[in-house]
């Protein structure tokens, strides 16, 4: 059957996919807020700006103030920064490790595959949070960046598995054999022949890793193992619970951070499904 040119085809479907449109809109909204948000506030996250203590949202303090009179909106936009940083660094690192392990295991096969797969399976069954917890507990200095690194280092196994399976099937394709007959070396084949075929897939993987890293960071922050300085959405929730916002009914303190995480991660998931439909002709709706 005939096919229109590949690139136009993707664009055509991408622009018509509602899931993609909704997902990307939400993600971009928060991304813009992250960069533009600090322009709308004159405070720092921990500054005691409202002597009245906890106050509901008002024109002066859009998201209200905490028990200590800190501006929730300020905390929120700076917290968003930490969230996106964790997503990019943690999710990126998780993707990177997973992809490299998966590529090598899938392409080399044999004993290399055997060893890498065993390691993958081991890291896969160890609960991520438990390992993060024990590392974080002993770290003397913790920042958003180190947190991201550790999240990335524990989140890669499922990616490695998936990439391995994909590489495996690509490796048996005959164009890889032909590349070998052209005298290309292994790395060249992996990066010039195998990897480009998986770009769409890797994008999907990264999106999922991004969302996963955000959720993991929120969990760590919430139990007090987050960064020692700065603010994050998870820490906002931790403080809110710690200082009784629940009992006192200070809903404006704990609703925004969780809602933002839910919206961002949810939008990422929906984007992922939308992209999958765009890339995968089988899933396209007629």
């Amino acid at each position: 059957m005939t096919e229109p040119k590949k690139k136009n085809e993707f664009l055509y479907f991408a622009l018509r996919n509602n899931k993609l449109r909704i997902g990307l809109t939400v993600v971009f909204f928060f991304l813009v807020l992250t960069f533009v948000g600090p322009q709308f506030t004159d405070y720092t996250p921990y500054a005691y700006v409202n002597p009245m203590g906890a106050q509901p949202p008002s024109s002066e303090h859009w998201f209200g103030t905490t028990m200590f009179g800190q501006d929730v909106f300020t905390q929120f936009v700076f917290g968003l920064q930490a969230t996106f940083l964790v997503g990019i660094v943690g999710g990126g690192l998780g993707t990177l490790i997973g992809v490299v392990v998966g590529f090598v295991a899938g392409y080399r096969g044999g004993i290399v595959d055997e060893i890498l797969s065993t390691i993958t399976n081991i890291v896969l069954v160890i609960p991520t949070l438990a390992i993060l917890l024990i590392i974080a507990a002993y770290l003397e200095v913790r920042g958003v960046f180190t947190e991201s690194i550790f999240i990335g280092c524990t989140a890669w196994p499922w990616t490695a598995r998936a990439v391995r399976a994909q590489t495996f099937s690509l490796r048996s394709r005959e164009f890889v054999d032909l590349a070998r007959l052209s005298g290309m070396n292994t790395w060249k084949i992996i990066f010039q022949e195998v990897a480009p075929n998986m770009m769409s897939y890797l994008l999907l993987v990264f999106i999922l890793q991004f969302g996963g890293a955000i959720l993991n960071a929120a969990t760590l922050d919430f139990i007090g193992l987050g960064p020692m300085e700065g603010i994050s959405l998870g820490m906002m929730m931790q403080y809110a619970v710690l200082w009784g916002a629940l009992h006192l009914g200070h809903w404006w303190w704990f609703v925004p951070p969780g809602a933002a995480i839910m919206a961002i991660v949810g939008a990422l998931y929906v984007t992922n499904v939308g992209l999958d439909e765009v890339f995968n002709p089988k899933l396209r709706e007629m």
């Binding site: 609960p127 917890l133 139990i223 629940l246 919206a263």
Partner: protein, 330 residues
């Protein structure tokens, strides 16, 4: 089949071995002196600090060579000796953990199993029509993207504070003593419900999405098309697809346990529910390293055990693993 289990057991044994080793290694190879850190940060009486210092030097066995420390650690482990808690001094860590474990089982088991069952049913239902799909799937994505603690906080705030119909702290009322009576069991369930609900809802979303995707895939499989070509009613086609779609969901259950554990930890924190999660928070706040390490080991053991049970179930439900042709790469 024997090979399949052999391989699985090997992986689990290796995992446990490595996890325990990490557990042992981290306090020793992290920067700084853990004993000093712990004692300086923990608020202790002077004489207690004296006792503790002597105890920890012995416990960490810093006077013997590293390999000796390592072997001693394993010997102690096999004797069930996980050390002594700092913040609940002088209770042994094992004893403290054993007290918490029943609550975890009580909370996690129903949450995991019921969300899995309901999620699967709902996901299969969503795949029935476009209209259902377009309403149920977004709900699933929103639920599965919700941070556990946030849902917990919302539920606690709304049902506990605003409506005031559920308690939001503890496993039972402070005024009660654990005993077997309707009143106590009722109280227990009332405290249990909200943490359970928040765990259940988030997981439910994930399973529903997973099932919906799997069943759509199965409905496009060759055997489904063949059934259709032979005029099988939709009910039978769906029934077959559902049975086959459930298999990867079982595997998914194993892979997902780590996430559920994380969710349980923060949920317990929100509701002050006295399981391991709550214990960990207390241990972190009190710099009780022995307790943290003990909890870590328990979580690993729990997850490995659950995985093994799932493996057994999988072999029972999927004939392909039994005939020995597949199953190596579950």
């Amino acid at each position: 089949m024997r090979r399949y289990f052999g391989r699985k057991l090997f992986i689990y044994a290796l995992t446990f071995f490595l996890a325990a080793t990490i557990d042992w290694m981290i306090p020793r190879f992290m920067p700084g002196d853990p004993v000093q850190n712990m004692l300086s940060r923990a608020a202790l009486h002077a004489e207690a600090a004296e006792v503790m210092h002597g105890y920890y030097t012995r416990a960490f066995g810093l006077d013997v060579p590293v390999w000796q420390q390592y072997i001693n650690f394993w010997i102690a482990l096999f004797h069930g000796d996980l050390g002594t808690s700092v913040y609940l001094f002088p209770q042994p860590v094992l004893q403290i953990i054993m007290r918490a474990v029943p609550y975890d089982i009580f909370l996690l088991l129903p949450a995991i199993l019921l969300s899995w069952l309901a999620g699967n049913k709902f996901g299969a239902f969503a795949a029935r029509s476009k209209w259902l799909d377009n309403t149920i799937s977004p709900l699933g994505y929103i639920l599965t993207a919700t941070p556990y603690m946030w849902l917990g906080i919302l539920l606690a705030w709304f049902f506990g504070i605003v409506l005031g119909i559920f308690p939001i702290a503890g496993a039972y009322s402070f005024t009660m003593r654990p005993h077997l009576s309707w009143a106590f069991v009722g109280n227990l369930l009332k405290h249990w419900f909200l943490p359970f609900a928040s765990l259940f809802l988030v997981k439910f979303g994930g399973w529903a999405i997973g099932m919906r995707n799997m069943i759509i895939y199965e409905l496009e499989a060759d055997y489904s098309h063949y059934l259709e070509a032979l005029g099988a009613p939709r009910k039978l086609v769906r029934q077959y697809a559902y049975r086959n779609a459930i298999l990867p969901q079982i595997t998914g259950l194993g892979l997902d346990l780590g996430v559920v554990v994380a969710g349980a930890l923060v949920t317990e924190v929100v509701f002050s529910y006295p399981g391991i999660g709550y214990l960990i928070l207390a241990a972190i706040q009190n710099q009780d390293y022995f307790l943290i390490q003990g909890c870590f080991l328990f979580i690993i053991i729990g997850v490995l055990l659950a995985n093994f049970i799932i493996d057994i179930v999988y072999v029972i439900v999927d004939p392909r693993t039994r005939t020995g042709m597949q199953g190596e790469t579950v």
